[in-house]
């Protein structure tokens, strides 16, 4: 599991690659939560994400809560069909802002 960290102006872009499951979720949570607090805008790019488990979804929920507490904006993008399905089944699609690609997500948080 790899997390690439980029910036576009004030927007922090976190691009995830690999599998976000029970084995990797704790490490990803620590990586993301160390960078998210205080950020006004955040984009999570899932184009390289092959799989996300329920534990991985909860990491997303924690980030969404942190972002909201900071008064920031959060957008997700690039979800593969199998990843999107997990978000839909769990109801997370209704609480998170999901976009097709990075430019659309950047447009939503800027």
């Amino acid at each position: 599991m790899e997390v690439n960290i980029l910036a576009d102006g004030e927007v922090l872009i976190l691009a995830l690659q690999g599998r976000l499951d029970n084995n990797t979720s704790q490490q990803v949570e620590e990586t993301l939560m160390a960078r998210v607090p205080g950020r006004p805008a955040l984009v999570l790019d899932f184009a390289g994400l092959e799989y996300i488990s329920s534990a991985g979804l909860r990491v997303m929920l924690k980030i969404a809560k942190q972002s909201r507490a900071d008064g920031g904006k959060l957008a997700l993008c690039g979800l593969a069909p199998q990843v999107r399905e997990v978000f839909d089944i769990s109801g997370f699609s209704t609480i998170l802002s999901i976009h097709t690609d990075r430019s659309a997500a950047l447009g939503a948080v800027k």
Partner: protein
Amino acid sequence: MTEQLTGQQRNRERSIRLAIVMDSGMISTYLLIAILSGSLTMAAEVIRGVLLLGIEAFALAVMKRIHRGRTAILEFGAGKLEQIVNVLIATGLLAGALWIGFGVVRILIGDKDVGSPAGFALAAIFASTNTYVNILAWDSMRRAARGGGSLIMKGQLQARTVKLMSSLFVQLTLTVAALSNDSVVIAWADAIGATFVCGYIIHSAIDMLKAGLPDLVDRTVHEGFQAAINRMLAKHFDDFERLDRVRTRRAGEIIYAEIALAFRTDLSIGEVNRRIDAMRASLREEIPEADVSILATSC
């Protein structure tokens, strides 16, 4: 103090008691025939039978304690105890299979004498009685376990099914051995019968270990339940401020979930309780057997 048992509890205890009585009679007879015939298959049946008998007795003792509420020190229920019994059954079955396997190798390399045709004939006659008894015992157990329920009953039913299937095949191999005058045919029939019993036992034991061990070491509960928790968290997303952790484990039929959430400090205790109750109800709608603890902190 009078002990009040439900009809289903009495039925379950009676079915295991009946199985123990019938098994004791059959095993004693089998032991005698195994000695007289020199059949490895029969010897394997005796070993397996003694093993199952011991486990049945232990299972009955544990079940009686559970039914009479004598497990007060087990504050999270007797689920783990049931899993231990299941794992013990599986471990015992594997040990028995190993012993049978060694015997088969010894027959095939000629290190062990084959039994006598007359002995096999006697064995085949008694095996048919055993097959009939196994059908009756299996049917009784199946009916008792039909109401859902405990791992002990499921373990017992699985063990009974193994026993019935094995006895049918053993019946066939013993009959072939009894009807043959060729020592090679007798040796192979005995070896095949014993190998079949061995294979069936291993398969069943692995299934039982797979079912019991993960829960015994408190492995995270399956993804379906995790998804239900996530749906609840998504549904009540605006009701809490922070998700601190989610922990799940299973003990018997009950799934335990511990969800730690932080709530706004300006909420009253009553309001926090109302929200927690709503979350718990949402989760129980999907998973009725869940025992959900929601730990609240303020932030």
